[in-house]
């Protein structure tokens, strides 16, 4: 076990984490850029907004997390709530 603890793993080096993130940001940017060159079939008016799916995905997740945090105030109880 001690061997494992001492061994360096790929994400123990912050540089590797940063590399992964940089690659990820690059893909995100690319996906938005591509949106201006590829014509998407449009079925709904909302889809006409440039990079609609990117904006929607980002906003949806931020809203989701913020609402969930607010919800925590209402519904969160101690771990043994039902056993008391």
């Amino acid at each position: 076990m001690s061997d494992n603890l001492d061994k360096k793993h790929i994400f123990d080096d912050p540089k590797n984490v940063q590399r992964l993130l940089n690659g990820f940001y690059a893909v995100c940017a690319l996906l938005v850029v591509v949106d201006f060159f590829i014509h998407r079939h449009i079925s709904l008016v909302w889809e006409k907004i440039p990079a609609f799916y990117a904006i929607y995905g980002f906003v949806a997740c931020v809203v989701l997390v913020i609402l969930a945090k607010v919800m925590r105030k209402g519904v969160m109880r101690g771990e043994n709530y039902y056993d008391e």
Binding site: M1, N4, L5, K7, H9, F11, D12, L21, F24, Y25, V27, C28, L31, V32, V34, D35, I38, R40, H41, S43, L44, W46, E47, A51, F52, Y53, A54, I55, Y56, G57, F58, V59, A60, C61, V62, L64, V65, I66, L67, A68, K69, M71, R72, G74, V75, M76, R77, G78, E79, N80, Y81, Y82
Partner: protein
């Protein structure tokens, strides 16, 4: 031979498992679902409906058509994978329960009448609870009991509905029923409970996380999918299902974000995925129904894969609390990889199974004019990626280093996960084979530039939101806690009000006794205070001694009678 219902193989195997042990038993466990699938493939013809008369009622234990076929194969496949995953568990009750449970699920989707369906419905309830009770903790036993009560209740609704239906129509056929009649609505509630409709879903989020490491894999495969099949059979095109499905897809993701027990996160995301199927059934067009069935197929495999990954962690570490995990990729790299495949499949990444099935429901929503419904489902899709796609692998295997260095999962578990992962990628990249199995003839192909680009944008920017929130410290930390859900009503409000009701009743009893006894008490007191009270006969006598004295007086009277008349 060709009309032998496949469930019989499972039930016979369950008997054989009891009689054998060791390697023979393991072979039987593995061979049964394979044999059942081969039997369905080779011996049973499409369109088979084998009716038999029982007490003047026509029943049918075997109906194979284009709707039941994909579920029949799916259940055999799921049973093989779950059995391999649980191969090292030497627990007779779980092994027998696994066979009965899978066999009953197969029996239910192949049943041609409501009474046979009811029998398998209840057998599934009883056999599945074993996986929760087998955990052995107090929490598991309590949760199992609640699970069982709700499951049985669903069966009661089904039986009542079936009888009312028989009374009204003279038929017990398990066909399109619709919501127009009382019977239809009763059966709808029965299906809705097993399908985890909102407010009826708590048995799932309460029970599944308490099951054994291997048991949840079985549980996640069968019960809800049988209910999805039943809804597709009897309520296809009922508009209300669209809205129920959208609610199911949306509300659990909020709970999933704040939940700490990672198997409970998966339980919530199970409801979310079933929401997509229910919506498809509600839309009711050929494309939507195909989407519902296809998504049920993909979901069983990728949700099974995720539950297996978490089951492996539970098996090695002993818990799956996000707050106390992290960094497990270092010693469980293969499990990590399989978990990521499951996560990408549930999130519907192109080339993974969720993409080719979920998109059919999404397209059907647009085609049938549910624009706002589509927006909500898109929100739910982003949310799935957020909690099941990122949160599960991230908090379990990466995040902060928890210092835990568990061993890699055992070989059999890795094999099961590897199989499921391979199927996820196979379905995702070669969807034509899954599509060929679907009930309707539909010309649909998921891979075009628009669709792939749209989905990639949605997913990558959901991930970007996760990265951003995490960097800003806005992401809610994993906390050991209980989050109130609909179960609060029967676990807290009902018991509390019952206790309160009891105490009010006992107070009332006390008060009324006092009121009623007051005059008697007053008389007693006035006697005891009167001047005659000083004599011992004026004291209050116990009933027993009074009876004794009366008996003595009567006996004396009798004796006198005998003496006086008897002598004369």
């Amino acid at each position: 031979m060709s009309e032998l219902p496949p469930f019989v193989l499972f039930f016979v195997a369950a008997g054989l498992v009891l009689a054998t042990g060791g390697v023979v038993r393991k072979v039987i466990l593995l061979a049964t679902p394979v044999a059942a699938a081969v039997h369905i493939w080779l011996n049973i013809e499409m369109g088979t409906l084998a009716p038999f008369a029982f007490l003047n009622v026509e029943l049918s234990l075997l109906r194979l058509d284009k709707l039941s076929l994909p579920f029949a194969y799916l259940f055999c496949l799921a049973s093989v994978i779950a059995t391999i995953f649980a191969l090292r568990v030497d627990d007779t009750k779980q092994e027998v329960a696994g066979l009965i449970y899978a066999g009953s699920a197969l029996g239910a989707v192949l049943a041609g009448d409501l009474i046979s369906l009811f029998v398998f419905w209840e057998l599934m309830a009883i056999s599945s609870v074993v996986f929760i009770w087998a955990r052995g903790t107090d929490r598991a036993i309590d949760a199992g009991l609640r699970y069982l009560i709700i499951q049985i209740l669903s069966g009661v609704f089904l039986l009542a509905g079936a009888l009312v239906h028989y009374q009204a129509t003279g038929s017990l056929a398990f066909e399109q029923i619709g919501l127009g009649t009382t019977a239809g609505r009763l059966i709808f509630i029965a299906f809705g409970i097993k399908c985890a409709f909102p407010f009826l879903h708590t048995w799932l989020t309460d029970g599944y996380p308490e099951a054994t490491a291997t048991g949840t894999v079985y549980l996640s495969a069968f019960t809800t999918k049988v209910a999805v099949y039943a809804l597709a059979r009897s309520y296809a095109g009922e508009g209300i299902l669209v809205y129920i499905g959208i609610t199911m897809a949306c509300f659990p993701i909020f709970y999933a974000v704040i939940e700490n027990d990672l198997r409970k996160v998966l339980a919530y995301s199970l409801i979310n995925q079933v929401g997509f199927m229910v919506t498809g059934i509600g839309i009711g067009t050929a494309l939507a129904l195909n989407g519902a069935v296809a998504h049920a197929f993909s979901d069983v495999i990728f949700k099974g894969l995720l539950f297996m990954a978490m089951g492996s962690v539970l098996f090695r570490v002993g818990h799956v609390n996000g707050s106390n995990l992290g960094g497990l990729y270092k010693t469980m790299p293969k499990t990590t990889l399989f978990c990521i495949v499951g996560a990408m499949s549930i999130s519907a990444f192109p080339l993974f199974s969720g993409f080719v099935s979920k998109s059919m429901v999404m397209t059907a929503l647009i085609k049938e004019g549910y624009s706002y419904g589509w927006l909500f489902m898109l929100f739910a899709s982003a949310g799935v990626f957020h909690h099941a796609g990122i949160k599960i692998p991230y908090f379990a295997f990466f995040a902060h280093d928890s210092g835990l260095r568990p061993k890699e999962a055992p070989v059999n578990m890795l094999v099961a996960m590897g199989m499921a992962a391979a199927i996820c990628i196979f379905i995702g990249s070669q969807p034509q084979y899954l599509y060929a199995l679907l009930p309707m003839e539909v010309d649909y192909w998921p891979y075009d530039t628009t669709h792939v680009l749209a989905q990639l944008q949605l997913l990558f920017f959901s991930a970007l939101a996760f990265v951003w929130l995490n960097k800003k410290g806005l992401y809610p930390p994993e906390l050991r806690s209980v989050n109130l859900d609909a179960e609060w009503f029967y676990r807290k409000v009902l018991p509390a009000s019952a206790l309160r009701g009891l105490s009010v009743l006992s107070n009332m009893k006390e008060a009324s006794m006092l009121t009623a006894m007051a005059p008697i008490e007053r008389i007693r007191r006035s006697i005891s205070q009167s001047s005659t009270a000083q004599y011992s006969l004026a004291e209050s006598w116990s009933t027993g001694s009074m009876v004794l004295w009366i008996a003595i007086i009567l006996a004396a009277y009798l004796l006198l009678n005998i003496v006086v008349y008897g002598l004369s």
